[in-house]
Symmetry: C2
Subunit: 311 residues, 2 copies
């Protein structure tokens, strides 16, 4: 039987991904939404999360898709009301608040799922399996997109806490930390900050790897043309390439054949949420956010040309 779920925050990501994935799933029934500006046709909507929590004690699971700024208060309220909670990425505006939510969920005995949608891309699990047991020599993330296409008019990405290019780069790091078994940490971070903005438009990172492998990431939002979302890993036994956001896997230059149709990241993400709730477990891996917070806090900042969206 499908579990009832409510979706709080009906913006672009909810309409593009969450709502269709829930609709297509046998695990879930979208029982209500929370939106101040109006919900979606045919689904009960509440103006505030508190109103939803009061009116619908039967809805056990709340998925929170609003930006990280207001998300902490919503997550805290839902957990305190004894509901299971899924967080869109990144899991918070600060690293400390993620720990608070994790403790709250543990003490209440409910599920908290800090989700990383790109970690559920089609070929991530295959990449992890292929790398297991091989010795890594080099791993390079190349993550380039045009911010004007992906965040048109979204000023918040440039404000403190908005993460800048790490808003997309954290997706790459969620894959890297899934496919590598070893602990890594940022050792150097060079950040280009447009002179009229607070957050980086380009980042170049280097990581410590316990076996001395060279692990780097290049991320930029100042990019014309198509997206480059690649992760390449050279080992003692061949080279792996995850491309197009971990939806394509190649080994030594040859594409590994796909099997069947790809239901998509968010379908897998909601299937994972169903397993977690069934098992009474949480999944809160803060490693991708930790690396971003480290990169921002120990980064060397360089002022570069202003970023102006139009013209």
């Amino acid at each position: 039987m499908a579990r009832r779920i409510a979706l709080a925050g009906i913006g672009k990501i909810a309409r593009d991904q969450h709502i269709p994935s829930i609709a297509a799933s046998d695990d879930w029934e979208l029982a209500a939404t929370v939106s101040r500006s109006g919900g979606i046709d045919g689904v009960e909507n509440h103006k505030t999360l508190d109103a939803l929590l009061a009116a619908r004690p039967d809805i056990e699971v709340i998925s929170l898709t609003m930006p990280p700024g207001p998300r902490f208060a919503a997550a805290k309220a839902a957990l305190e009301a004894g509901r299971h909670v899924m967080l869109e990425k990144p899991p918070g505006a600060s690293f400390a608040e993620c720990g608070t939510l994790e403790r709250e969920a543990r003490e209440r005995g409910v599920t908290l799922f800090a989700s990383w949608h790109t970690r559920h891309a089609a070929r991530v699990a295959d990449a992890r399996d292929w790398l297991a047991g091989k010795r890594l020599k080099r791993l390079a993330v190349t993550w380039c997109e045009d911010v004007r296409k992906w965040h048109p008019g979204q000023e918040w990405v440039w404000e403190p806490g908005g993460l800048g290019v790490f808003d997309t780069g954290i997706n790459a790091l969620s894959v890297v930390t899934e496919i590598l078994q070893e602990d890594i940490h940022v050792t150097s971070s060079d950040l280009d900050i447009p002179e009229n903005r607070q957050t980086p438009i380009t980042a170049r990172l280097a990581f410590h790897h316990p076996d001395g492998a060279e692990v780097t990431a290049y991320m930029t939002w100042r990019h014309d043309g198509g997206e480059v979302w690649d992760i390449e890993a050279e080992t003692d036994d061949g080279t792996l390439l995850l491309s197009e956001g971990a939806t394509i896997l190649s080994i030594d230059g040859a594409r590994v054949s796909d099997e069947g149709e790809d239901p998509g990241e968010y379908a897998r993400l909601y299937a994972h949420l169903a397993r977690l709730v069934d098992a009474g477990e949480s999944d809160v891996d803060l490693a991708p956010f930790c690396h971003v917070v480290d990169a921002l806090s120990l980064g060397r900042r360089r002022r570069v040309d202003a970023f102006v969206e139009e013209g």
Copy 2:
């Protein structure tokens, strides 16, 4: 019987604090040092930590006082050699590496002590006890000192990872997180960055507190005159002031009398290390570092006048 300990990194903090505190303690015997530029009179010195670890398997505990940059590799090597480890503050250059060390210690079954010396100042425990059970309304950190006095010629504090004013401000946060029972997290951070430097000279922070108390911190290194190292906490049942780096406690304006002589922060810190090793426990509370990393990563940066040490 005194346990043998080795001190790695013989700089100012080692000479001023660690060596006298170990010498005055019945718990410890300084059996060796590690210093490339020479150790101290009458104590066996090794040029490298690896040489010490190889030569002296009988030394169970290693205290690491070098700056956070090179400290990770040293801590990892000591833990891998099965030794107990104490880290000066801050516990790392990145937040992620602290988690790696914590896991390493747990897997090896040895003690890791991420120390916060100011947390062991004379009146911290009294302040914590006084606050327990009271309802906090307001807490304000005021932490002002002259960087030219405390870090003369130390360029590394201005480099990425050097923390800037948080190098001292983290001491205040180590006390705040000890005396408050509740989880807090940074919600806003305003940072003044000298135009010729990478790290803040002044920081103004605001924190979320679960009961809505107003929690703020003002920290600056651009300060003439004597140090101000104050933490004031207003509750529903009086106001507490910890001053002079938590060595003086006042309640409602009246100084609470001290009892006996103060052996000092580092004496208590090494006594705590002895208890941890005896009990086979670790003490790794990363909260102070987490708040600093959050403040640096979500901070709003403002360029201010260059900082020039001389003239």
